[in-house]
Amino acid sequence: MTSTKTGTRPQEVDLVRRLHRNDPSAIEELYTTYFDRLYSLVYNQVDRDRSTAEDIVQDTFLAAVRSSKRFRGQSSTYTWLCSIAYHKVADFYRRKASEAKHIDRSFNVDALESGEQQAERVPYTNPTDSIDTAAVVQQALARLPWDYRQVLILKYVDELPVLEICKIMRRSPKSVEGLLSRARRALKENLPAWGE
């Protein structure tokens, strides 16, 4: 998680109030306070594609400015921005999927569930220590459905509480917990076995 600070509740209430008035200083504050953290999140959400991340972050802030009057401050400002960005990330993956003539089997949940990929599991040294870990984990993550990766990033990388993730993904707590559980299980199944 990045160390970029976010505002306290009273500061956020004040920020929302000023955004509603279309106060230029509020927009500047919105940008300076949240840009770094949001950019880092989106960059990871789109598989570290800098160009796509820039497009989505730009669209997110412009959409936020346009729709700020409709933001009632019921969630934190960062959650609000994440929610806008999340939908744009979802659009990105949907366009990507529709552009492809066929869906790569690596994105196929059925394949994950059928255990086909378990056959590839081989004994391995502790992956948390290996220099090859990054490549192995990246391969495992690439096999996950995109929404599995999103919920894992929001929970473990951006360290957002489940209730905030609910607002971002517009799911119920039960649904987010279920998605997290399935994502963790699928990732574990995609990682090579490791032992002594």
Binding site: Y39, Q58, S67, D110, R185, G195
Partner: protein, 235 residues
């Protein structure tokens, strides 16, 4: 001996992969300038006062219902599978500047459950969601998502609370009890994703009276995808 990964292993691996990233200074500066410009730009004159401009209003809106089913338990202790339902919205070109629709609830009807206490209606979204159909041009927005049991579903019901045109004109909603029912049969299968898109014809949905009032009477066509397919944007 093979050990299982625990959550802290996963967290460490994920943090190693998804490290914090900094944007280029050029991009940061460019975006900062764009935002300053956007903030200083005066609000455009509402088209509401120029009926000749918006007269040929044409917009298309889609609400998608995507049901995701829970990944089957890979362990021997199998539990009942459930899925989840995602609602998406998109738009089509038009000359109205904003068309905010607030939906307070979305329900689906499962076939054969008519005798149940809820008459077979299952609430999939219970939080009010407001979306601007015009801002969603060429894109879709996820309205919400909820888990559902596998089965045969026959209808979708949306509670439309409010429709506002150009941030200022509250449209009259012409729906019995504010409810929009759409008949569309779709299947939810275990471990599969089924997409149901409700294609709103905004041009036909939004009417104007001679007194400068707007009336929103949704015209909707359901588009049902095959199980396990992604939702697609309506043409």
């Amino acid at each position: 001996m093979t050990e299982e990964y625990n959550d802290s292993d996963l967290e460490k691996m994920l943090k190693d992969i998804y490290k914090p990233e900094t944007a280029s200074p050029q991009f940061k500066e460019r975006l900062r300038r764009q935002l300053v410009e956007a903030a200083s730009r005066p609000a455009p004159r509402p088209l509401w006062f120029r009926p000749m401009v918006w007269a040929p209003v044409a917009a298309a809106v889609a609400l998608g219902l995507i049901a995701y089913f829970a990944v089957a338990s890979l362990t021997s202790t199998h539990t009942v599978r459930s899925g989840s339902l995602a609602v998406w919205v998109t738009d089509a070109p038009g000359e109205v500047q904003t068309l905010d629709v607030t939906v307070s609830e979305i329900q689906v009807h499962r076939a054969g459950d008519d005798s149940a206490s809820d008459d077979g209606w299952i609430t999939v979204i219970s939080q009010p969601v407001t979306f601007d159909l015009i801002a969603l041009r060429d894109v879709q927005e996820l309205l919400g998502e909820e888990e559902l049991d596998p089965g045969h579903y026959t209808q979708v019901r949306l509670i439309v609370d409010n429709v506002t045109v150009n941030d200022e004109i509250e449209a009259e909603i012409k729906l019995p009890s504010g409810e929009l029912k759409v008949v569309g049969q779709f299947e939810i299968k275990a471990d599969c994703t089924t997409a149901l898109t409700l294609d709103f014809d905004a041009e036909a949905s939004l009417q104007y009276t001679g007194e400068g009032k707007a009336v929103f009477q949704p015209v909707v066509k359901p588009i049902i995808g095959e199980p396990c397919q992604e939702a697609t944007t309506p043409d």
